[in-house]
């Protein structure tokens, strides 16, 4: 700052104020759009207008722009497989700088890397290269999270968002052969694995018929949940016993639900949703007004 100059503070936008409130309070912000949604529950297929929503990202803590560090300390397997463990007869080895995973005869063999505790709704962006030459599918995911199926005979690079469906004291990045009777001796290759935690609590829906559909009207994005089964879900939200939820309903306004006990989980079924804020605890009266004003604005009223 120039000596002697006045320190001018610009009036922050309403959106910026809302994001600051939520960041400081651990709150969640859900604004459905092609940038925040995916069509599938594994977060691979980007969202699009008139497409189903299988994944909706919480951007209250920054979302993908604020991911944590890579927690896989040995994802390139240059010389060994240190840090990776196996179950059900899987054997692993570093071969040509990749991890070769060889199946035993026991059902559902897996290889995994521990990440630590996770709460339902939290998730990781997991990337890896794969070459599945086995005759079985491989499930890639957090151990307790949403799944990408890698079909037999396929190879490539994957980037998924796996969301924990339950709480876990020590979740893992998990590659599991999806067969109760695998062909012993067959193997698949995994390489260049990274796992970054994506802050927030994210919604998902596994069943296409139950997915909301992303719509756009007069420039505003909203979710169509008109047919009675559509909902986005999240598992147990430990500690959310007196949460505040503020819905933004297109052309209607904001709907505030205070003192809500959603600790057993939450299903979002509000039709015509332009957005949702979830605060784990009650915001101050002033902050509540700001949050409500923002959600009314999103609703177009």
């Amino acid at each position: 700052m120039t000596p002697g100059a006045r320190h001018i503070i610009l009036n922050p936008s309403l959106e910026q104020q809302v994001k600051t409130i939520l960041r400081r309070s651990g709150g969640s912000l859900y604004l459905p759009s092609p940038a925040t949604t995916f069509q599938d529950s594994a977060g691979e297929i980007p969202g699009a207008v008139d497409a189903p929503v299988g994944f909706l990202m919480d951007i209250g803590q920054g979302g993908l722009s604020n991911i944590g560090p890579n927690q896989i300390t040995n994802g390139t397997f240059d010389s060994d497989t240190t840090g990776w463990t196996t179950t059900n007869g899987m054997t692993i080895a570093s071969v040509s700088g990749q991890m070769q995973c060889t199946l035993g005869a026991a059902g559902f063999p897996s290889v995994q890397f521990a990440l630590g505790a996770i709460s339902s709704g939290e998730g990781y962006r997991i990337e890896f290269d794969y070459n599945n030459t086995t005759s079985h599918g491989i499930w890639a995911r957090l151990e307790n999270g949403t799944i990408k199926n890698i079909p037999s005979g396929t190879s490539g690079h994957a980037q998924i968002l796996s969301i924990a469906q339950s709480n876990s004291a020590n979740t893992k990045v998990h590659f599991m052969t999806n067969s109760s009777s695998p062909t012993a001796g067959q193997n698949f290759i995994i390489d260049n694995v990274t796992a970054h935690k994506v802050p927030g609590r994210h919604f998902y829906q596994l069943t296409t018929a139950n997915k909301p559909v992303l719509r756009q009207t007069s420039g505003r994005y909203w979710m169509d949940m008109a047919d009675g089964t559509d909902l986005l879900t999240m598992g147990a939200l430990t500690g959310y016993t007196a949460a505040t939820l503020i819905h933004s309903v297109l052309n209607t306004g904001q709907i505030t639900l205070e003192n809500q006990n959603i600790s057993a989980g939450y299903s979002w079924t509000q039709d015509n949703s332009a957005g949702l804020i979830i605060c784990p605890t009650a915001p101050s009266p002033r902050n509540l007004v700001l949050l409500q004003r923002y959600m009314s604005k999103l609703a177009g009223v």
């Binding site: 599938d40 497409a51 189903p52 069943t207 296409t208 139950n210 559909v213 009675g228």
Partner: protein, 137 residues
């Protein structure tokens, strides 16, 4: 390819498990076996007589549905085609689950009612059904 069509599918409640077993393979995502969860009856009260779902779909899926429900094609041929589709997906994605039998595929096709590009409310109205309200899943 855009999801520019909408289907409402209605089955007798007795066919719910067959419907979900088939939907497991038709759903590109992982939760197809929960497709038929909603139930309905004429007055919206128990007992349920039907199970139903509404879903957006792509043109390619609509064409599949139309081919499988083509009244000019013998039911046995449609059932065989559906069985082939279901078996192929079960082999790749659900090897530990038992795929529906040919007879179950035939029963599914003979009992399912399909409303194409008809709104949810209109399909319910035309079929004389009211959804049985339960707590959210």
């Amino acid at each position: 390819m855009s999801w520019n069509h909408y289907l409402v599918l209605i089955l007798p409640i007795e066919r719910q498990s067959i419907g979900n077993a088939i939907a497991r393979s038709l759903d590109p995502d992982m939760g197809g076996d929960q497709t038929f969860t909603l139930t309905a009856s004429a007055d919206g009260n128990l007992p349920a007589t039907k199970t139903l779902c509404g879903t957006s779909c792509r043109e390619s899926f609509l064409q599949t549905v139309q081919a499988l429900s083509d009244s000019n094609t013998p039911l046995a041929n449609c059932a065989a085609a559906l069985k082939q589709m279901v078996d192929a997906d079960y082999a790749v994605r659900w090897p530990n689950e038992t795929a529906p039998t040919l007879a179950e595929c035939e029963a599914f096709l003979s009992w399912i009612a399909v409303y194409i590009d008809t709104s949810w409310d209109e399909a319910l109205n035309q079929s004389g059904l009211q959804v049985i309200q339960t707590a959210p899943i």
